[in-house]
């Protein structure tokens, strides 16, 4: 099952050229771009691992691209996303976030039914991949 998280996720995967153009847009708006990765793709898993520091004061997307490529080389089978943080007062938040890498095979999510108090039925989802320990998923 194809994971759809972040911007552009219903489009075909972005090419490097398209990623570069998006990053250029972020830098033009003075957003700080950072690269993060994870192998736990649960939708509530907000905080991914940072790959290096967020990149401030960049002028050109080439620096970010080299960082993305370094991350892909280190974690070829992880989900990798690019975040753009807007530090303007009043925003102070991520303005754009999109996936730049995903594993070749995405097994999808298991729906788990949990019996709660009385006969209340609750539902939970979890990625099949997280059955295995971190680092050996995908």
């Amino acid at each position: 099952m194809r994971v759809t998280q972040g911007a552009f996720s219903f489009l075909p995967d972005l090419t490097d050229q398209q990623i570069q153009a998006q990053v250029e847009y972020c830098l033009r708006n003075n957003w700080a771009v950072s690269v993060e990765y994870t192998d736990d793709i649960h939708p509530r898993n907000t905080y991914w691992e940072m790959f290096g520091m967020p990149m401030f004061d960049l002028r050109d997307a080439a620096g970010v691209m080299s960082e993305i490529n370094a991350c892909r080389k280190t974690y070829p089978k992880h989900y990798i996303r690019v975040n753009a943080f807007d530090s303007t007062r009043g925003w102070e938040t991520i303005r754009l976030s999109f996936l730049v890498n995903r594993p070749a095979e995405e097994p999808g999510f298991r729906l788990r039914r949990v019996e709660s108090q009385g006969r209340v039925q609750r539902y939970a989802i979890e990625p099949y991949a997280t059955d295995k320990p971190a680092g050996r998923r995908y």
Partner: protein, 298 residues
């Protein structure tokens, strides 16, 4: 590779380049070898875009440079100009300049250097990285110095990301020569070794005029003659730093001009406020010393 300039027409015309070179000629005095090299680079760009139009192969030229020369010969000034120039020529995408010294590149403990250097390189991408006094990067006498690590990362990026980044090293000639001897990889990855010559007396005078014009002052005839005399005396003295010495001399002349006017500022018109006269120059210790036959500088 796309056209790095991002111009819609995808090329630079001969006219643009000629206009740009004319600009440079009027802004920089002397420095014939520097201008010649910039001219060559600009010409290559025009030829390259013509070649592209004809379907001939075009390789990105190596643009890393090393500026060597005596103090005050304009190395830093030219490096600043070079960034915007290369941008206008379409060789670099953004045209900003990141100036770095040893502190910005070399870390303080094990594992600190590589991220620090990489971060700086990332910031400089799309523009020019200017490393002033590059010979301080490596301290050959200390074998545990982290400078070597920074140099290796730098060399790697200079080699692999030539279209993203232009590196300019600058420093005094003899020390740069030693630096290149210790790091032969550097020397061979830099395609332009440009030596900045000392300025002649006439050129220094033109520089003085240009500086004064920018500061909104001018010499009167007496002051001009006095300044020629001053330059002649100053060039004989030790620690002469070309244009930097001229700037300092002018700053001091402005101070004397100011204190001469101080106290009767009410009656001063535009002319008086902007004219430096002979007495402002002649009061200089350089000339006083020359008269007395001493060689005390400043």
């Amino acid at each position: 590779m796309n056209d790095p300039s991002g111009r819609p027409d995808g090329g630079v015309g001969e006219q643009d380049v000629l206009a740009l070179l004319a600009d440079l000629d009027s802004e920089l005095i002397g420095l014939a070898p520097v201008k010649r090299r910039i001219r060559d680079v600009a010409a290559l760009l025009v030829v390259d875009s013509a070649r592209t139009a004809q379907g001939l192969p075009v390789a990105a030229p190596g643009l890393h440079m090393s500026f060597t020369g005596n103090p005050g010969t304009g190395k830093t000034t030219v490096a600043m100009k070079m960034a915007s120039l290369l941008h206008r020529l379409g060789y670099v995408r953004k045209g900003h300049l990141v100036a770095a010294t040893r502190d910005d590149l070399v870390g303080q403990y094990i594992g600190h250097t590589a991220p620090k250097t990489r971060e700086l390189l990332k910031r400089a991408m799309g523009g020019v990285l200017f490393i002033d006094e590059a010979y301080y990067l490596v301290r050959p006498e200390n074998e545990r110095d982290y400078g070597q690590e920074a140099v290796e990362i730098l060399l790697q990026v200079m080699e692999n990301q030539r279209e993203d980044l232009v590196v300019i090293l600058a420093g005094y000639k003899d020390r740069m020569a030693t630096f290149f001897e210790c790091n032969p990889g550097f020397s061979s990855r830099i395609s332009h070794h440009i030596d900045f010559p000392d300025y002649s007396g006439d050129e220094l005078m033109q520089i003085a005029d240009l500086m004064l014009e920018r500061m909104g002052y001018r010499f009167d005839d007496g002051a001009r003659a006095a300044f020629v005399q001053y330059l002649r005396a100053r060039m004989e003295q030790p620690h002469f730093a070309n244009a930097r010495s001229v700037r300092n001399a002018l700053d001091r002349a402005r101070l004397r001009h100011a204190s001469r006017l101080f106290g009767r500022i009410a009656g001063a018109d535009r002319e008086t406020l902007s004219t430096i006269s002979a007495q402002d120059i002649l009061a200089s210790r350089v000339l006083q010393a020359a008269h007395r036959g001493e060689s005390e500088p400043c």
